[in-house]
Amino acid sequence: METPHTQHLSAADYEHVYEPAEDSFLLLDALEADLPFLDALQPRLCVELGSGSGIVITALAKRLTQSTLCLATDINPHACAATKRTASHNGARLDSVRCNLADALRPRSVDLLLFNPPYVVTSDEELQGKEMLAGSPLVYSWAGGQHGRRVTDVLLQQLDGILSPIGVLYLLLLRENKPDEVIQQLIKLNFKAVKCMERRIPGEYLYIIKVTRSIN
């Protein structure tokens, strides 16, 4: 997959939208490594939750063009707009929808789901407090509350209602998010979950968890 161009986004954009970083590139690399699986899966609807700059969903939309509808959601209106701009600057076709996670999507419709969540461990006050409401929407892109898991845990509870019968999720986690605990939780929820890629970056250790419905 080609890495999308992002020259159209400036420092001013990155005051409101998460700038692509090592975590974004790890998710891209994991998807690229799993392309044979994705080609066999033949997803019809691909959705990235919290698309930010749109770099991940744009790369995928270019690769899967002609066979997959691609949508991006974000609660941050600047991110929704940036994602559309990134797609259009790279000749990719996708739509942005402003909503919380997959709230606005028909149940069990998503074949390929991507999520690079706000994973930084913060206090819950930081996640829900007045500073958050008064501050930049950028805080939502990284502040994860206790264990950096507040938003991820919400998604896990909703996952059965989001994924189609063939649906698969690629989820990015930080070591501090306790990925093994997340995998155990997913197994309890009747999913199959494995670490499919991991990488040490300065100051962080990141994992990509691949989640599918268990056959039984």
Binding site: Q66, I75, S96, V97, R98, N100
Partner: protein, 123 residues
């Protein structure tokens, strides 16, 4: 917002809403962006689409000749596949709104982006 995207949107996240589908679509400004016709993709996408929402959107977008009931043999009907292609992938709604069929809650579409974000007291 493409009509293909519209087909996947629901207001069921609103507290008390059971189905929230199809949303009532209003188009104030649209763009037509031509793209490559791929009949196989349309056929494969059809099982994921809701025909009543396809038909409803066709009326709003003034795309005539989309039948009210889904025909059985769409794969052999090149003319209909062409019309579906135009409706689903080439019409881009830039300004308009979506309305919850159960509560009347209005979601604006601005610069091609539907705002489906709910307030905390709505969920």
């Amino acid at each position: 917002m493409k009509i293909s995207t519209y087909n996947f949107l629901t207001s069921m996240a609103i507290k008390g809403v059971k189905v929230g589908y199809p949303l009532k679509l209003t188009i104030n400004k649209k763009n037509v962006v031509e793209c490559e016709f791929n009949p196989v993709f349309i056929e494969k996408l059809l099982p994921k689409l809701d025909w009543s929402a396809v038909y409803g959107a066709a009326q709003v977008a003034e795309c005539e000749d989309i039948p009210q009931a889904q025909p059985d043999n769409i794969a052999d009907n090149e003319a209909l596949l062409q019309k579906l292609h135009h409706l689903l992938f080439e019409i881009d709604v830039l300004e308009g709104q979506l309305e919850c069929p159960e509560t009347g809650r209005v979601f604006p579409i601005t610069d091609g982006i539907p705002n489906m974000l709910l307030n905390e007291d709505e969920v």
